[in-house]
Symmetry: C2
Subunit: 231 residues, 2 copies
DNA sequence: AATAAAAAGTTTACACTGTTAACTAATTAA
DNA sequence: TTAATTAGTTAACAGTGTAAACTTTTTATT
């Protein structure tokens, strides 16, 4: 049975709230998110928003989930645009897509990886799933390349203690799609953290001015990663 | 001539404001910084704080400058605790000190590298200097090791375009203490960004639960960095 | 020592925030 | 057509940063 008219209009309003929120965040920074301001722009009273989100944090969580999915979509699209066997191409494309998405959606990126909303703490059980999607894109590439002998995992990543090894194995076991090496899990964590450090530094302007503008800073490090992994 | 009584008490009050601010941030998160709350705890009215800081942002900037200096002090102390010629030991010690400081001062770390204060944007001219101190500690180690032939800069870092090369040379020229390789500047940026990505991921809990708790995750990546650099 | 000047601190007020309670208007279901 | 559900309203509370006007305390000068 089709959705009732009421359900439809409710879903539309929910989407509009999020759209206005994103738009305002894009204009005035992620921190400027304000229920009253959203309501004002939508021509309704602020408390009315509480029919759609129990409180501000719930709206933030919804925005974060959307952002994660949007990022994951971008990464997956970049991955799918390359030949499956071209691991180097897939990795480079996904890495670039990661940076591009962050530059195109700085407010959402800050929402995901920063802490721009005072007092907000992300409820892990809601955000883990969509967050994992992004990690998996890179994880699969690296793991598949490793399995195909087209990537060399650095020696240090095989020297985890039994304790850490157990945690890694547990994580690897959670992925049914492939046979995942626990050293590959470690590698994925490190690579992702590395990409994140670069992009965050660029967005938050840790680096000297102009140095990251061109994207060459990012590209060189990607090349170094590929060199190191013989990818 | 000695400072007048008034100047002394003023300096003390200024320090107390910052101390209370840090203490509250440590307890309730960096975002909870509130002038009124600080004033309340100090037993004075909120507008009185404006005699010491022109506005909230100025207080935040002062806290950031202090935090940068505190971090730099820790890194320098770690560096000085090692033999000058022991580049590997110096690098490892400084890297560990970096992580330790971040774990011991999470609110200040978030203040420096995150964006926890709504609407606040750091005035570069005030923060660049103390921020540079931290970068220089690692930069010197890497550069000295490279000059001594005890470190191999990855090939990719020598392939910057003329434009980027110019920016790097400019940066290198700003450091009169040593003969700085432009590829070394690049290396320093990358290494720092990498450390930051790791620590931020640990603090902000990007990784799976428990995975970073022991510090082994960090140590393994430090080892891999040393391996890669033949350090 | 008395007085003028400067600094520090106070209260009051404004505009903003998220959120709750009580109430009304609109839509859907019986 | 009536009853129930949902969506939206206004009013209010507690909190925020900050400006203006005023008072108290400390220092400097006559």
């Amino acid at each position: 049975m089709a959705k009732t008219r009421r359900e439809r209009v409710r879903a539309e309003t929910t989407i509009e709230i999020k759209e206005v929120a994103l738009q305002q965040m894009a204009q005035q920074g992620a921190a400027s998110l304000s229920l009253r301001s959203i309501a004002r722009e939508m021509g309704m009273s602020a408390p009315a928003l509480y029919r759609y989100f129990p409180d501000r944090d719930a709206l933030v969580t919804a925005l974060i989930v959307d952002a994660y999915n949007s990022l994951a979509d971008s990464l997956e699209a970049a991955n799918d645009g390359q030949d499956v066997g071209n691991y180097n191409g897939r990795f480079r494309a996904v890495a670039q897509a990661y940076r591009n998405w962050a530059l195109a959606h700085p407010a959402e990126y800050a929402l995901i990886y920063g802490t721009p909303i005072p007092g907000y703490i992300a409820p892990r059980d809601e955000t883990v799933m969509p967050a994992a999607r992004t990690n998996l894109v890179i994880g699969f590439i690296l793991n598949e390349a490793a399995q195909a002998g087209k990537l060399t995992i650095p020696d240090a990543y095989f020297h985890a203690s039994p304790d850490l090894q157990a945690v890694l194995d547990e994580l690897a076991a959670m992925i049914p799609e492939e046979d995942v090496l626990s050293a590959g899990v470690l590698l994925t964590i490190y690579i992702f953290s590395r990409l994140h450090g670069l992009v965050w530094g660029e967005l938050d302007e840790h680096f000297a001015p102009k140095i990251a503008d061109s994207g060459e800073l990012f590209e060189i490090e990607i090349s170094e990663i590929c060199d190191r992994l013989k990818l």
